[in-house]
């Protein structure tokens, strides 16, 4: 009799992560391209103020890696949608898998990708400084000194935000897989919401939501807010996709 194998979920998930890391190499190359584009945009400065005081005329350019971070979040959002499209999904089911292991490995993959994105985004601010030093004809450059611990918390916070966006993308991707019409419904509802509700009413819901996450001063609160929200998004996606068939 042929003996049967009974691998544990953890083992399969680990193998799938390795498999996906190899096969999703394209994600990292788009990350590099996107961050370079964002870097170029950042040379223009994200803020500017100027004025004259008696005989003194001054202009201040404010440079930051914010654009790079925003680009990276968008990149994570789109990646997460893509990972749920037909092509990726079929790659997924070509070897040993079930829906739980597929989702778990996707989530871990997105987490790894978010961390990488966060590290490169934060470090690119140094690249930005060097760039400004060489290319800008500004007379004086003032740096904010960043300590290692601050850099580390910065990276973690950025990673969590990027991961949050991938969670958002992941659930959208899953809903689209559940029913193709979501691919139209979600953008229409979103845009409609912006135009009708956000623009006309007094309450700016999207802005409030943004503030809730991005204006959080406490690192620990920020961490728990983003982790809990991403966890919620991914769990919802898993619950939905557990019922789905593959290769339709």
């Amino acid at each position: 009799m042929m003996s049967l194998t009974d691998p544990s979920l953890a083992v399969v998930v680990r193998k799938q992560i390795q498999f996906k890391m190899k096969s999703c190499i394209g994600m990292f190359s788009t990350l590099i391209v996107l961050q370079l584009i964002a870097l170029v945009f950042s040379f223009g400065g994200t803020g500017m103020m100027g004025g004259t005081r008696s005989s003194l005329e001054y202009e201040m350019n404010y440079y930051s890696a914010d654009i790079i971070l925003v680009f990276t979040m968008l990149w994570a959002f789109i990646n997460a949608i893509l990972i749920k499209t037909k092509d990726y999904r079929e790659d997924d089911f070509v070897f040993v898998t079930n829906r739980v292991s597929s989702n778990l490995s996707n989530i871990v993959l997105l987490l790894i990708v978010s961390i990488v994105g966060a590290i490169t985004a934060m470090l690119s601010s140094y690249l930005l400084r060097i760039g400004i030093y060489f290319f800008s004809d500004n007379k004086e450059i003032i740096y904010t000194e960043v300590e290692f611990l601050e850099l580390l918390t910065g990276i973690i916070a950025a990673g969590l935000f990027i991961f949050l966006f991938s969670g958002l993308g992941y659930i959208i991707g899953t809903l689209v897989q559940l029913n193709k019409t979501f691919a139209f419904i979600i953008p229409v509802v979103f845009l409609g919401f912006i135009f009708l509700v956000e623009m006309s009413s007094e309450v700016h819901l999207l802005l409030e939501i943004g503030k809730f996450y991005f204006n959080e001063e406490s690192f620990w609160l920020l961490t728990s807010k983003t982790i809990m929200t991403s966890g919620l998004l991914f769990t919802a996606a898993m619950l939905v996709s557990n019922r789905l068939e593959v290769k339709q």
Binding site: V12, C24, D87, V94, V96, V246
Partner: protein
Amino acid sequence: MKVVECNELTKEHGQRKALSNLSVTIEENKITGLIGRNGSGKTTLLKILAGFWAESSGQVNVFSNRPFNSLFVSANTVFVDDQMNFPTALTLKEILEQASKFYEKWDMDLALRLFDYFSFDSKQIHNNLSKGNRSTFNMIIGLASRCALTIFDEPTTGMDAAVRKDFYRALLKDYLAHPRSIIISSHYLDELEVVLEDVLLIEEGSNLLHMPIEELKEYAIGLSGSSDQIDGWISDIDVVHTNTVGLDSKYAAVKNDFTGEALEQIKRSGVQVSSVSPGDLCVYLTQTTTGGIDDVFDRS
């Protein structure tokens, strides 16, 4: 041990029933040919067995587990078809390496020897292969993974005659060395039949017939002679297929329930008795419309 058990298995795609109350049991370590016309539900059945699709009603068990969403079934099953999709970032060699990590019984030595035999280039990308080469490569995955349940859905799509022959030979040799349950779907039974043990013929999503191929070969016999003679013999027996040949000759494939003596009598009356190949028989049994293609043209 029973590898596959289906009981009243039904699968609906919207309004259409792809499988309807299919009941079948497949014992372990057999090579079973799954035969049926286009749209008879072959692929649907196989995808349910592989755990890709969920059944709509009825029971289905593979290794005594419901296959849908089962990691256990997935680990012991390989599903090969011409839609197999591999990441474009991986070369053929890398795909083999990845496969070896997932399948515990994977035989890399066999995979590489087949890989070289069919002159694949390790740097090639799966997407760029020709249709036939893609099928050949997928077949290597199917054989080398040595899964206890190995499913081939139309594995020979695009393969030329020489490769098909090699495939059947490779399949048989590897099966002899490592017996396992293999299901191959195809609409060409003739090429396949020598390697099969059992045949499962499905029609409109139901189990029409499931028996050893050797029994299927003797299931029916062909009688040919003058129309009057043939009509006389077949009036009260199970007729599978009739065909008028020329002006006054007739061919009838009938269920082989004759005793040796009756057969002698038939032969002596001048009727020619022939065997009916399993391939022809399956075509006769699954003919949905009465008559054949000729009747489309003969409107008189």
